[in-house]
């Protein structure tokens, strides 16, 4: 229980550090972003400059003329109320943008994770069980190949060949513009068609790593006495592999699952940009390239929080699954 409180404390600290970093970074933006915005407001809505500046500062969430401590207090108060800020380029609150973007990223990332994890686990178990099969060098070689190639290179090659040259897949969007979202076969098919290449790039990149991790874990489990005992009892191979080998070897991979979930959010910045897929990563790269500091800050904080919570959950789940690890030291 004590260790649980400590872990949660460290997690909260990390989120606080991330919030502080983004605050400091955005405070030190060269130039005055509010000034530019206020000038625009003066031209578009006919306000006088003083009022326009106040309106812009309020939307942006801070007034650069106030002392730093005061601004920090305002920022923290705003965050605690669940307000992640305001986007300059979309003229909308970051919360609204996240509500639109997060489902797409969560959809792509979770399907990719599910596919690559289950495929990797199966492959890893097979090559650990049947050593010296032709599969082992193939999977190992593939895994080192994907470990060496950055995910965005894979994504760009997929885009280049399957979307642009062969025209099998669309190059942008989450679904066709003319389609109205709804729960029907046509819409779901269209969504899958658009998500196929992003999912494929994540999966191709991750599956080798999972297979190797599973192989490593399964090889050490194979040396355990209970496997020998199961063999001596004359259990069927299938039963030994599924109930004894695979079930015990998956455990150490669970922590990796959460960590890679966080990593995929980071990776989605490039992959979604490459496929013009309107998820969190795409909006984040828009914020970066168009210098929309409010959106940058908000999306980043949410990503960090999601990663850290995933890490915390992984630790807790792992402790529950494996009685030997009781989160104590």
């Amino acid at each position: 229980m004590k260790i649980l409180i400590k872990r949660t404390g460290v997690a909260l600290l990390t989120i606080a550090v991330a919030a502080f970093i983004t605050f400091i970074v955005v405070q030190n933006v060269p130039g005055d972003p509010i000034y530019e915005w206020a000038m625009e407001l003066v031209q578009t809505s006919g306000l006088d400059f003083e009022t326009a500046y106040k309106v812009a500062a309020q939307m942006y969430g801070y007034d650069p003329n106030e002392p730093l401590i005061h601004r920090l207090a305002v920022y923290v108060k705003r965050l605690l109320r669940g307000n992640l800020g305001y986007s300059m380029i979309y003229r909308a609150s970051v919360n609204e943008i996240i509500a639109k973007a997060l489902p797409w990223t969560a959809f792509v990332v979770s399907i990719s994770l599910l596919l690559s994890f289950s495929l990797g686990v199966v492959l890893g178990t097979v090559i650990a069980w049947k050593r010296r099969s032709f599969l082992d060098p193939v999977v190992t070689g593939y895994a080192s190949f994907t470990a060496a190639t950055p995910d965005y290179v894979t994504a760009m090659l997929l885009l280049l060949f399957f979307a642009i040259n062969l025209k099998w897949f669309p190059t942008r969007g989450a679904y066709d513009v003319g389609l109205t979202p709804g729960f029907n076969l046509r819409f779901i098919g269209n969504v899958l068609h658009h998500a196929a290449l992003p999912i494929l790039s994540f999966t191709l990149e991750a599956v080798g790593g999972w297979a190797l991790a599973m192989k490593g874990s399964a090889v050490s489990v194979l040396g355990e006495d209970y496997i020998m005992a199961a063999k001596a009892r004359g259990l069927k191979d299938r039963r030994i592999v599924v109930s004894y080998l695979a079930r015990n070897s998956i455990l150490p991979l669970i922590t990796g699952l959460a960590i890679s979930f966080g990593g995929m959010f980071g990776g989605s910045i490039l992959i979604e940009t490459i496929f013009n897929y309107p998820g969190m990563g795409w909006f984040f790269s828009q914020a970066l390239t168009r210098k929309d500091y409010g959106m940058m800050q908000g999306l980043f904080l949410l990503t960090i929080a999601a990663t850290i919570i995933a890490n915390l959950l992984a630790d807790l789940i792992y402790a529950r699954l494996d009685p030997r690890v009781r989160l104590e030291r």
Binding site: V10, L13, T14, V17, A18, I21, T22, V25, V26, N28, V29, P30, S144, F145, A147, A148, T149, P150, Y152, V153, M156, L157, L159, L160, I164, N165, G262, G263, F265, G266, G267, I269, L270, T273, I274, F284, S285, L288, T289, K291, Y293, M296, F300, T303, I304, T307, I308, N311
Partner: protein, 278 residues
């Protein structure tokens, strides 16, 4: 050396890295970068004059790849150097001092490890408007040292209990002597092996940041080439320009493979436990 030559992966990796090293050092003199623009010769497929075709302004792609390798490797080299310097200092300080200093430093290290690196690096690059290789490398290094620092710390913790350190302590040789003459020589080989992996990481991140156009200080950097080819000029949609888009992609891929093979080969050589599995 014999083990090195007999390790095929390390050897192949070393050859690839040597190739890139020559390309980055000698290459720019062999293949000059032409500044002239020939818009009428844009997006030419590979030919004798332009082995990798031409870009959107009719300039030679091969020359850009060669000059780009220098930029990419230079930034990665600096970043790895900075990151290892931070990691070794933090690791030794934390391992030797122990107590409160250790706790603070390790909490910081854990926080750094949990925060996803690429988004933070991108924010820093975007906000601070990076315009030169040194500040770019510093931003990269600032988010790269945490893992190695933790490993160095645990090395120092075990070294601290060894006889030669305790002898030095008994002889009252002073902290500076223990750090620089006793601990550092034992930690450095380990850090050196990590150098290639660090550079690999720095290349992936730096090219990604360049690809988004967040650090536009070098027009020939592979990331900038990709940015130009995909986001700015749409060359990716022009079938004739295939070699222009593919060249930087394959250049990154081959370099990464070389670095990966080399680093893993070295690990196999220096870690006999890995060899036993073969």
């Amino acid at each position: 050396m014999r083990t090195f030559l007999s390790n095929k992966r390390a050897l192949v990796g070393a050859f690839i890295l040597l190739f890139y090293f020559l390309m980055a050092t000698v290459g720019p003199f062999v293949v000059p970068l032409e500044e002239e623009q020939h818009p009428e010769q844009a997006f030419r497929p590979p030919s004798w004059d332009h082995p990798l075709g031409t870009d959107y302004l009719g300039r030679d792609v091969l020359a850009q790849i060669v000059h780009g390798s220098r930029d990419v490797l230079f930034v990665a080299f600096l970043a790895a150097l900075f990151a290892i310097a931070i990691a070794v200092s933090v690791g030794i300080l934390s391992g030797l001092k122990g107590g409160f200093v250790d706790q603070v430093l390790m909490t910081l290290t854990n926080v750094m490890l949990t925060i996803p690196h690429l988004p933070v690096m991108m924010i820093f690059a975007a906000v601070f408007r990076v315009r030169d290789p040194f500040s770019f490398a510093s931003i990269l290094a600032f988010w790269m040292w945490a893992g190695l620092a933790r490993a160095v710390r645990s090395q120092v913790l075990s070294l601290r209990e060894r006889e030669f350190i305790q002898a030095a302590q008994l002889l009252k040789l002073g902290t500076a002597h223990i750090v620089f003459k006793e601990i550092l020589p034992n930690v450095m080989p380990y850090a050196a092996i990590n150098f290639v992996s660090m550079m690999r990481g720095a290349i992936v991140s730096s090219v990604a940041i360049m690809f988004l156009g967040l650090a536009p200080f070098s027009a020939t950097n592979w990331g900038m080439m990709l940015n130009m080819a995909t986001i700015q000029t749409g060359a990716i949609y022009i079938p004739r320009a295939l070699s222009y888009v593919l060249s930087p992609l394959l250049a990154i891929m081959l370099l990464q493979l070389g670095g990966y093979f080399f680093a893993h080969g070295l690990e196999e050589i220096f870690n006999p436990r890995l060899r036993a599995h073969e």
